[in-house]
């Protein structure tokens, strides 16, 4: 007890937490205002807005899973090289050699779970009619987040570079071949010719843009790696910041008027 007291009275502790323990009403308010991580929240909230039966905590769980994916993803990057020579072997080593051998499992199952919880979160937002004014735009941001979550999962699926990976990506990206006008097997691509030269070929169409090659190869691995580890997570982080900010600005969790 005395030690705890000493610590809490030390200059270091007080410089980090600018208030006493949140045990009384005043300090429970102060903690929400002075702590960076907590200030995402309001100070007080309608009881209904935090009922598990209302929000299912699904948005929160999705966000938490995103954080889990970020941490396990960074750890995985220590062990993984996105090249034809190493990708598969590094994954093998992760399973057989690396200590804490469930890193890949945590990351993969966390990703599946995040797709599911995103859907469930959308489902609850729909069922409570929380997309209605004034929250229309936050729903739109949510839809983009949903799309990005799927793309994160999709780009990550390729990285183990096993049969499962390249064929799932091949099947998935074959669709882009058929993009109207922009895919070389798509309707209307015949119309895009300049001076008799076909502009849309298998070396210039939408699928080529996605894969960086005519088929899923090393260029694709590199492209998906960069998208998966840098581009999409950054976009998600930015949109999440806006999403949370809008929840507050739109009047907090929705409720009957």
């Amino acid at each position: 007890m005395a030690i705890g007291e000493t610590i809490r009275n030390s200059q270091i502790w007080k410089s980090i937490f600018r208030h006493p323990m949140p045990l009384d009403r005043r300090n429970r308010i102060v903690v929400m205002l002075t702590n960076f991580f907590l200030h995402l929240h309001p100070v007080s909230i309608k009881k209904q807005g935090i009922a598990l039966s209302f929000t299912w905590c699904m948005g929160g769980v999705t966000f938490f899973l995103f954080l889990v994916e970020t941490v396990t993803g960074v750890l995985l990057m220590f062990y993984y090289r996105p090249t034809l020579e190493w990708a598969y072997n590094d994954i093998l080593a992760l399973r057989d050699v690396t200590s804490l051998g469930i890193l890949r499992e945590l990351h993969r199952w966390g990703a599946h779970a995040m797709v599911i919880t995103t859907w469930l979160h959308m489902y609850r937002v729909f069922l409570t009619g929380s997309y209605k004014p004034p929250r229309e735009f936050n729903w739109v941001i949510g839809v983009i987040l949903l799309l990005l979550t799927l793309l994160l999962s999709f780009t990550g699926y390729l990285l183990p570079w096993d049969q499962l990976a390249i064929w799932a990506i091949t099947v998935g990206s074959n669709m882009a071949r058929a993009t109207p006008f922009l895919g070389y097997e798509g309707p209307g691509q015949q119309l895009l010719t300049v001076g008799g030269i076909d502009m849309i070929t298998d070396g210039s169409d939408a699928r080529f843009g996605l894969l960086g090659a005519r088929f899923v190869g090393e260029e694709t691995l590199n492209r998906f790696y960069v998208l998966h580890c840098i581009a999409i997570p950054l976009a998600v982080a930015l949109l999440l910041a806006i999403h949370f900010w809008r929840v507050r600005k739109d009047g907090g969790i929705s409720g009957p008027l």
């Binding site: 929250r135 729903w139 949903l146 096993d162």
Partner: protein, 441 residues
Amino acid sequence: MHSNGQFLKDVAGFLGSYYTGLALMNAVAAYLLWRRSKQPALALAWTVFSAAMMILAGLALSGEERLVPKLPSAVTSLVNQLSGPVLYTLGTTALLTVLFVFRRFFVKPMVAWTILNGMLLLMGLSMADANFASIVMKPDNVPIVGLVFLLAFFTWVATKQAVVNDDRIAQGLPPMEKLDDEKVLVWPDLVYTELICMVAVSAFLLVWAIFLPAPLEEPASSVKTPNPSKAPWYFLGLQEMLVYFDPWYAGVVLPSLVIFGLMAMPYLDFNKKGNGYYSIAERKFSYLTFQFGFLELWITLIILGTFLRGPNWNFFGPFEYWSPYKVEVLNNVDLPQMFWVNLLDRPLPRAPQGSGTLAQIGYILLREAPGLLLLGAYLVILPPLLAVTVFRGFFAKMGFIRYMVMSNLMLLMLSLPLKMILRWTLNLKYLVSIPEFSLNF
């Protein structure tokens, strides 16, 4: 099919713990019914069920062919024989409809609990079938099993509250959520809830990661195509649509429309009611539209694509062996063929040798006239027609642009089930088939 004996030994441990889990779950339920709800009769019933599950657990642990509880082979082969895309789609639609219409009955906790136990028991019995287990226990398919149960659970949670709210609103009372609008401090109420959620999710994820290894197949090879080749599970609904549409529509246009339609939704739904609380009666139209799109056209197609589509994307019953040699006869016909050849008994219109581009296009249009006219009527004539009949009220409230966007999104969404029906009844392949421009619909 391989021998069942070794398989049953392999799954004995899993099935044993599965039934033990079921028994424990129901023992807790029985205890709560007895102590908390003071319903000894119900408590007794669930105690008996729990004991029965304990016996099944023992039998399953034996790993013996004649002891492990499983579905009789007469049942499994009947299910295999009966099931197909038509029955599956109609069946799931009928099931969802029944659940919706009789929702008052199904949300009762005891009814829901009975159904949950029935589902879990059926799942356990099916797991003793080697073919069923080999698909369901594929590591990447496990999340979808989870998704099905989670969706069922949360749909129940939501519907239960909606039913209560709808009753209250009918009596002129505010929804339940309104009763709880006193303010509480975020610390500790919300912060602690979040902390508990984080701990629970972490624990769940750790257990999952320890017990289910992530899949890793042979190294990638661009010459060895696996059969079936499947996209990641969350895109299998789209892959299933490829049965009915060409990739440009199923794989590019429809998904873009789904995204666009979702984004447009808050701007199309002009109904001010049902904002911030669970309700069905106050927003039936948007509720049914969303549920049809999400549960029927997205989720059930994913389940179909994951569990019931095998080699060559052929349909397989849940207990059927995925044989790559299964052949399905495809005798689908295009509409121009049906119209010109089968109906009018004439050859397909074709431009004479050496005619100019314009003439060729003219002949293509003539050949495809039946399909183009039908599509034109569907997308151009139907919206205004609906605006002055069924959707008259909508049109008045929404204005021209919003109404047009809504009705076209609606019709495009319905293009999928309609095409399914045309395929099943008329063997129709394409309504419009212009290979000259890679445009098939």
